[in-house]
Amino acid sequence: MIDITGFLINWLAYFAIYAILAVTLSLESGISGITNFGKVAFFGLGAYLGAIINTYLLLAISGVDIVKAPPYTAEGVIALIEISTLNPALVLGVFTLSILVSFIVTGVFGYLLTYPIIRVGSGFVGFTLLCVGEVLRGIYVNMEFVGGTNGLLGIPQPFIWLGIPMLSGLCYLLLSVTILALIYIVTDRILGSPLGRTLRSIRDDDIAALCLGKDVPKIKSKIFFLTSGFSGVAGTLYACYVSSVNPQMFVTLVTFNVWAMIIIGGSESPIGAIIGALILTLIERILPLIASLNEYLPFTPDYLRPIFIGLIMIIMLIKYPRGLISMKPPKFTKSAVEELMREAS
């Protein structure tokens, strides 16, 4: 029997996390023209921050000796498991804290990156940020404090104390989806506001925008603060979902998966980004079932999975080169204008 509820819960939680990345990426890259190939840098930073806070702080508060039982040893993990099942309030509190911290820290990190972004110029932002991501990964690998290549283990899923896996999974799913919805609303509002208009103008022609009094670096840095912060939140959600982090999780390929999502869905509209995320994450999860063709194929059937994914990506791009959802002019201005024109006539 296939267990649809479980499938949906696992998949949708995963989807929500990636959708957050996709939406923010569409805001910063599709709409404000910061070609961010270093998405994973912020994702990973958020994940590591979440991991550190949710393990070290939790252990410290509950009086475990961090030096003797760090979270990358069995003792630490066992202690964490006990805490996470026994002390719901504490776990939830620390989790909330970690979300806030990773939003702020990652956001500030993004804000500081504005200088190189402006300096290298639009054509090279992407690769510069990609380098940032790789450097961060290199740092994680060499930090004993976060377990080096072994990474951290036993990050408590904040609802694990509910006992019933289905239920705690559902709660976590709801939490992630709520955060996604929040971020989507913010993005959509920004898109429909004068700010969104300014952003699109900067994307179209930043020199002209500059001549029209737009302080391009300042606006870009503000937006980048926001999107990076949200990516950090996604990272924390991911860390607590997988409940372990290690440097190999945050390779550049992650960034390009998110890029595929927004390009396929339509890079200029958050709804497109969400749909892109929906499609790709679902494909990834449905396709493993072809592996049951085992005895009919002379090779490992699961090798076909990436091939299918690649084919689907290419076909969709050739069919919908602008993405499934093309950008529409912001709703509000249009409607306001129409009503005013009606008044006039």
Binding site: I185, L195, R197, T198, R200, I223, V337
Partner: protein, 260 residues
């Protein structure tokens, strides 16, 4: 500064070198408020460079640029372009630069500086900027109606005629209550009639808003019947200046154009 005619902009001995090559040499011009000033000269005579210096794209190697903000003169050389724009100076480019993914009306709406809806916190709360936006839309529509171009309000730049594009570029300044307009070859690529209508629009704008224009233009014939003062640049130096007819008579000018 003489009392009777208020000046809005003045450059004092502005020089500019690019890697040692002298592009501008001690150029001093003064722009009376409410005038339409022509800036002529053969290609490579430094007209656009002067614009770039005034609008803050380049820093002058020597000299200074003065501008009358509110009531006293301030130095604007060395400010960043967006800061200069906020003082009320707007420029257009030789190749028009409208925002292609924005409709005409959005192109107008984007121009006013310091809109409340431009900060993230306000952007997410509609009511904070709704009123302002409505007023801006009203203004934009009224401007378009004034030049009876209402029909292009929702066209994208790609769908516009060259003349309309150039007009919209100028109107963007109006939206932002700019006081000084620097137009870089506004007539390029326009046929005679359209060019004249555009010039008439410019006059109209000047008369009804009392703003100032500096126009770089090669089509002197058309220009001369519009402007009321002309500066002539040649090889980065100020060659001649005066009323249009005087400048036309000036032998150096003829020489410069006909070529040595």
């Amino acid at each position: 500064m003489s009392k009777e005619v208020r000046h809005i902009l003045a450059t004092r001995n502005v020089s500019k070198y690019f890697e040692g090559v002298k592009v501008l040499e001690k150029v001093s011009i003064t722009i009376p408020e409410g005038g339409i000033i022509g800036l002529i000269g053969p290609n490579g005579s430094g007209k656009t460079t002067l614009f770039n210096i005034i609008t803050g794209f380049h820093v002058p190697s020597e000299g200074e640029v003065l501008y009358r903000a509110s009531n006293e003169f301030i130095r604007i050389d060395g400010l960043n372009p967006h800061e200069i724009y906020r003082l009320g100076i707007v420029r257009t480019f030789q190749l028009p630069r409208l925002f292609n993914s924005l409709t005409v009306i959005e192109n107008l709406l984007v121009t006013p500086v310091g809109q409340r809806g431009e900060s993230i916190l306000n952007a997410v709360r509609r009511r904070t900027w709704l009123e302002e936006e409505k007023n801006l839309v009203k203004k934009a529509l009224s401007i378009l109606t004034m030049f009876n171009k209402l029909e292009i309000a929702f066209k994208y730049p790609a769908q516009l005629s060259v003349a309309d594009i150039k007009l919209v570029e100028t109107l963007r300044g109006l939206m932002a209550n700019a006081r000084l307009y620097l137009l870089d070859e506004p007539l390029a690529g326009l046929d005679f009639a359209t060019a004249r209508t555009l010039l008439n629009f410019i006059k109209e704008i000047r008369n009804s808003y009392n703003v100032t224009f500096i126009i770089i233009e090669h089509r002197i014939d058309l220009l001369m019947e519009t402007v009321d003062y002309v500066y002539m640049l040649h090889n980065g130096r100020l060659l001649a200046s005066g009323k249009p007819d005087e400048v036309i008579q000036n032998p150096d000018v003829v020489k410069a154009y006909v070529g040595e």
